[in-house]
């Protein structure tokens, strides 16, 4: 179904989320930037079980300032650029489409766990980024990881593909894993 174009300024994530996500903005720009449109990108956003809707698709025009582009090389490996660009994109869809905000980051063994809050409770968040890989398969893996959380909490998964920008964002109940 065709939708009207939503708009969001990438830098707004810095005001919306309590933790310091500003450092990830240049990574998102590095992955979204195209010579033909250096300060904006069209992103397909697919949401499942978000806001009471089983399935929803939005078209998002994401734009940014040239001042936010990295002035120097990002000096990290390519997969790290993709991972942190995905984190910035997760912050975008959370702020644009939900009242959820990125509240905390924890280290759990060798894994990083993200936590989002709606003010009443905290929920797990799994984030994944890829350049061209199959987004559905990657998302399924992330959901499986989310539902294996030892705290038995419900949570969210965000998977981002950057080749043709697309976000898959979904909510999951812990008891799904029993099915």
């Amino acid at each position: 179904m065709e939708n009207a174009l939503d708009e969001y300024q990438l830098e707004a994530i810095c005001r919306e989320h309590p933790i310091a996500v500003a450092m990830f903005v240049p990574f998102a720009i590095a992955r979204l930037h195209r010579e033909s449109s250096p300060t904006e990108a069209r992103v397909r956003v697919r949401m499942r079980n978000i806001g009471g809707q089983p399935e929803e698709e939005r078209a998002l025009r994401l734009f940014w300032s040239v001042e936010s582009m990295a002035k120097q090389p990002l000096a990290v490996q390519e997969h790290v650029v993709t991972e942190w660009a995905a984190l910035a994109m997760a912050c975008v869809v959370l702020a644009k489409y939900t009242p959820l905000r990125l509240r905390a980051v924890a280290l759990q063994g060798d894994r990083f766990d993200y936590w989002v809050t709606d003010g009443r409770g905290d929920y797990g968040l799994e984030i994944s980024g890829t350049l061209e890989e199959d987004i559905e398969g990657r998302h399924r893996d992330k959901v499986r990881q989310l539902l294996a959380n030892p705290y038995r909490n419900d949570g969210y998964a965000v998977t981002v593909r950057f080749a043709v920008p697309e976000v898959l964002f979904s909510f999951h109940r812990f008891e799904e894993q029993a099915r």
Binding site: P18, I19, A20, M23, N49, G51, G52, A75, V76, Q77, V80, T98, P99, L100, R103, A104, V105, A106, L107, Q108, G109, D110, F112, D113, W115, T117, D118, G119, R120, G121, D122, Y123, G124, A148, N149, P150, Y151, R152, N153, D154, G155, F171, R173, F174
Partner: protein, 139 residues
Amino acid sequence: MNDPSATGFDRQRLDDAFAADEVRKSNWILEGRLLEARQQWDEAAQKFAQAAEQEERLGNHCTTLGLSDRASLHCFSAASCWARAGNFYRAIALCDDLLRRADLTEPLRQRIEDYADALRGRRAQWLTGLPQLAASAGV
């Protein structure tokens, strides 16, 4: 809106000061990751050590409030941050403290056990190689 029936960690008993401390340690972890990715190891270790101390305080506070699941989360994160800062001794000690708790869920217990075993293995490797390292440094 978010699903009102969703099950998460309850925040009702946590005050603004707790939230601010949680944000501070999250920022240290994120900065630590960035520095680590740029191979600025000393600076990264310092951030993870700051985060570890804060996670321990958050965990102790949650224990005082009777929030045992949340306390476990912070204490396990503290152990992981200490390991990332290079302090295996403190990391393993925190894991062992956690494993003595009777109220851990089985999946969390398993994850902590696996992690503590991995740390012990890594420490053994490090200690085994230490004499050669000292010799090559002329110590």
